[in-house]
């Protein structure tokens, strides 16, 4: 998959589509990454993208599902602080998929 920056320059990604340089991310890049996963970004998707980017800013790491869902419960309320809410927006592996689209490193998997 090839991503293009605003200046139409190809943006390097790894074999799974994660950005090689986190500074290359932009909302337009997020749209391209989402579209490659057949996801249409709605305002509620963007709220989760902002949430995970905020998490990265605060803690310096990409969250796994458990801390991500707990963080969502804390920041967005109990309705959104549930795995099912994330799965509905970013199916399959929400933490991994969301960190990719949000231009963050892949979450560590300690298990």
């Amino acid at each position: 998959m090839v991503l293009y920056s605003a200046e139409n320059v190809p943006v390097p990604v790894d074999k799974d589509g994660f950005l090689k340089n986190l500074t290359d991310w932009s909302p337009a890049i997020a749209e391209q990454l989402a579209s490659a996963e057949n996801i249409q970004l709605t305002p509620s998707h963007w709220q989760l993208i902002d949430l995970i980017r905020d998490f990265y800013q605060v803690f310096g790491l990409s969250p796994a599902m458990r801390p991500l869902v707990n963080y969502a419960a804390k920041q967005l309320g109990p309705e959104k602080g549930r795995s099912i809410y994330f799965l509905q927006h970013f199916p399959g592996s929400p933490a991994k998929l969301l960190s990719k689209i949000a231009g963050l490193p892949r979450p560590e998997n300690c298990l």
Binding site: V58, F59, G60, P63, R66, P67, N70, Y71, K74, C110
Partner: protein, 117 residues
């Protein structure tokens, strides 16, 4: 089963700190009752960085700061060891609570499984 994880080394120059943390995260992920105690050099793992830039962070200080989000809420450190290293409560995470040596002994006695790294 009550688990107790003891962090006694600093995060640099060895893998013990990371391994202890990984064990703790795995234990919590399986829904076990878990308590963490930071003692001796281990209290240094709790010390907050002055800079928040990612590049300056210690290997796992982000996770240490996020521990409550991993459903780990029983986090203690030995007050006398923090003092030895010149650390005040203000330099340590809010979710970490200072304890005395007596309380530390109680925690060890109450746990069924103690892992010390």
């Amino acid at each position: 089963m009550e688990f107790l994880s003891i962090f006694s080394r600093q995060a640099y120059g060895n893998s013990f700190a990371r391994e202890c943390l990984d064990m703790a995260l795995a234990t919590a992920a399986f829904g076990q009752a878990l308590t963490l105690v930071f003692v001796e050099e281990g209290v240094l793992q709790l010390a907050q960085e002055h800079s928040t830039k990612h590049g300056d962070k210690k290997p796992h200080s982000g996770v240490i700061n996020a521990l409550p989000l991993y459903d780990i809420s029983q986090i203690f450190y030995l007050e006398e060891d923090a003092l030895k290293w010149g650390l005040t409560a203000a330099q340590l995470p809010e979710h970490a609570i200072a304890i005395s040596t007596d309380k530390y002994k109680t925690l060890i006695n109450n746990a069924q499984c103690v892992q010390s790294f």
